[in-house]
Amino acid sequence: MLESRLEQADLLKKVVEAISGLVNDCNFDCNDSGIALQAMDNSHVALVSMMLKAEAFSPYRCDRNIALGINLSSLTKVLRAAQSSDILTLKAEDAPDVVNLVFESSEKDRISEYDLKLMDIDQEHLGIPETEYAASISMPSNEFQRICKDLMNISESVSIECTKEGVKFAAAGDIGTGSVTLKQHSNVDKPEQSVEIDLSEPVALSFSLKYLVNFTKATSLASKVKLSLSNEVPLLVEYELSGGNSSYLRFYLAPKIGDDE
């Protein structure tokens, strides 16, 4: 059986919100190391991968591997009943029909409990190797969100060019062109404002902005976002969750290969 207690319901709320922008239903795979999730969007060009390590919970108990097939919009509805500061406990039997969610408000001595029906979801899992990317950019998550949103107004796709000087997001559309260039800089006072580029070779790739904007729904989960790029491979957009225990929310997006636009 699964029993996992999350100090902040907020985390799950935001994760689910971010994922639900990409997929409708997905399996939450629970095992002794934590709760993992992998799902692709309808077009199979984007993939979301989440890992909530056991350490993120206190306590975390999972005797057996359990797959919780959950409709994310339903889960969102239930999670709406939770306040951000509530303590959230996820519980499930070994072969569950429902997942049980308990929200505890420590201040008000209020306990709310919900049972969410589960569904059988056939999902293929992709094995994603740990890759060395040619370029990885670490930047404030809200900066990335802003760039994506701004350029969305110009075009549907953005080209990300990463050189030693910096990273250039450029878009060309019917109304004209636009670009945002970020130079590497480190802010000692506010490390979350730093832009760090780790480059082994220059990279230039094109991506669908709509997907990127979609990914940035996770912005509130982390102050920083890490973009990892290599030519001809999917972009990795990674948000670190609840610092330090290597829980993450990762998005992968296939690049646009030149033939259009």
Binding site: S20, G21, L22, V23, N24, N27, D29, C30, N31, M40, D41, N42, S43, H44, V45, A46, L47, N65, I66, A67, N71, L72, S73, T76, Q123, E124, H125, L126, G127, I128, P129, E156, S206, S208, K210, Y211, N214, K217, V233, P234, Y252, L253, A254, P255, K256, I257, G258, D259, D260, E261
Partner: protein, 446 residues
């Protein structure tokens, strides 16, 4: 005492009725309720209802006989079952303005003795109205002079008999014998007998033998008269218009009025007023002794059609006339003549060449053939049109399946978050699937 009580119990209807009243009510309501008759005007005092054998079925039935005006048959007129009615009969004395005038008028002429007792009026449960219409005594006589069913024809045909002998020989009820004693009546009957029989005068007595020729001519004359006066609309529609209708035509049905119109006609003037009137008129007009002056008639409940249906394409008048003749003949034969006499009459009519139905037969055959082919065509087209829906059903099933899937899809789409919906619109043409970058895991790790 208990016995009487028990017998009473069978008829109990009031808690404590006086015996007299109870019996009275019972007798008037149940046992023999008054019947309503409409009789000819100015009938002689000797007129009476007699029982004679029906010429067709050979069953006793009632006729109204007046020495001056001859025989009348009774036609029962009743409202449709679906529209039950009753009569309110009120005596002349307290006939009030509240009453339906027509009903009052009828009641004037007809008052049963029982009714007279009840000056306060009477409600007749039965809605029937019996109408005496003139009836040619020829039909009565025919069953007498015509050879019996059982006896062979050759035997009887050769025999000339007096009218009395004929009557004696026949099974006709003694009432007719009785009637023959009266001079006027005898004259009436003998006139009619002469019309259809060969006569041999033997001294004072006349000897009669049925003449098929004369009979055929007589019947033919009646039929022609009927046609001349115009067939009743219901007959015309059913037996003339429709059979002559070319196939594939829209059949216009006469609107059948089912309302009961109560109209009293002192003089039967309107020829096509009702079927009964008309037929009896024809019959009566043929009988010389009868006058068509005083027929009190009520419109019948059935098909008091006011318009004769004209088919869009009128068949040839010749054919129509022929068919009308045939219809009229058949009507007369079936209504008034014994079954075994019908064949000989028809054959005599054809041998005498009074009328030739052959063109009509060929025409009708042709129409039948046309109709059959039209029906065949229609059945083919029906078949096709029937098959279509079947196909349509399958199609509909498929469509329904599609629709269901679509609905599900729609539902799912609706359940999708906005982000997912937005991503559906994204042009992913240049983007490879992630499965081309990452290897599929053979089995989920969970």
């Amino acid at each position: 005492m208990p016995r009487t009580r028990s017998t009473k119990a069978t008829t109990k209807d009031a808690p404590a009725p006086t015996p007299e009243i109870t019996t009275k009510t019972l007798s008037s309501v149940d046992s023999n309720p008054p019947k309503l008759f409409i009789l000819p005007k100015d009938i002689s005092s000797e007129a009476r209802i007699i029982t004679l054998r029906d010429p067709v079925r050979n069953e006793p039935s009632r006729y109204y006989f007046c020495p001056q005006k001859g025989f009348h048959e009774f036609t029962r007129i009743s409202a449709p079952r679906a529209d039950p009615r009753s009569w309110l009969l009120v005596s002349e004395n307290n006939q009030s303005s509240e009453l339906d005038t027509t009903e009052g008028a009828q009641e004037e002429s007809e008052e049963s003795t029982a009714f007279k007792k009840q000056l306060n009026g009477y409600v007749s449960k039965s809605q029937d109205l019996f109408l005496a219409t003139p009836f040619d005594s020829l039909f009565l006589i025919l069953s007498i002079v015509a050879p019996g069913v059982a006896t062979s024809k050759g035997d009887q045909k050769s025999m000339f008999l007096t009218l009395d002998d004929h009557i004696e020989k026949s099974e006709q009820s003694p009432a007719l014998n009785e009637l023959l004693r009266e001079r006027e009546c005898r004259k009436i009957l003998e006139d009619r007998v002469r019309a259809i029989c060969d006569i041999v005068e033997a001294g004072d007595d006349s000897m009669f033998r049925l003449s098929q020729e004369k009979l055929a001519k007589e019947i033919y004359g009646k039929a022609r008269k009927l046609v001349q006066l115009g067939l009743p609309a219901s007959l015309e529609d059913k037996f003339v218009t429709r059979p002559l209708q070319a196939p594939m035509m829209i059949i216009e049905k006469a609107k059948v009025e089912t309302t009961l119109d109560t109209v009293v006609l002192d003089e039967a003037t309107a020829a096509a007023e009702s079927q009964t009137t008309l037929v009896s008129e024809v019959l009566e007009s043929d009988a010389s002794t009868l006058e068509k002056s005083t027929i009190t008639s009520t419109t019948t409940t059935f098909e008091s059609t006011t318009t004769i249906v004209d088919t869009p394409t009128e068949p040839s008048t010749e054919m129509t006339q022929l068919l009308r003749m045939r219809t009229a003949l058949n009507f007369i034969l079936r209504s008034y003549i014994r079954a075994d006499l019908r064949g000989p009459i028809l054959s005599s009519i054809s041998t005498l060449k009074l009328i030739d139905f052959r063109p009509l037969d060929t025409h009708l055959q042709k129409l039948d053939a046309d109709r059959a082919s039209a029906a065949a065509l229609r059945s083919i087209s029906d078949n096709i049109s029937r098959k279509r829906p079947a196909d349509d059903d399958e199609l509909a099933d498929v469509n329904a399946e599609k629709k269901r899937k679509k609905d599900e899809e729609d539902k799912r789409k609706k359940a999708e978050s906005r982000g997912v919906k937005d991503l559906r619109k994204v042009n992913t043409s240049g983007m490879k699937k992630l499965s081309s970058f990452f290897t599929k895991k053979p089995a989920s790790k969970t």
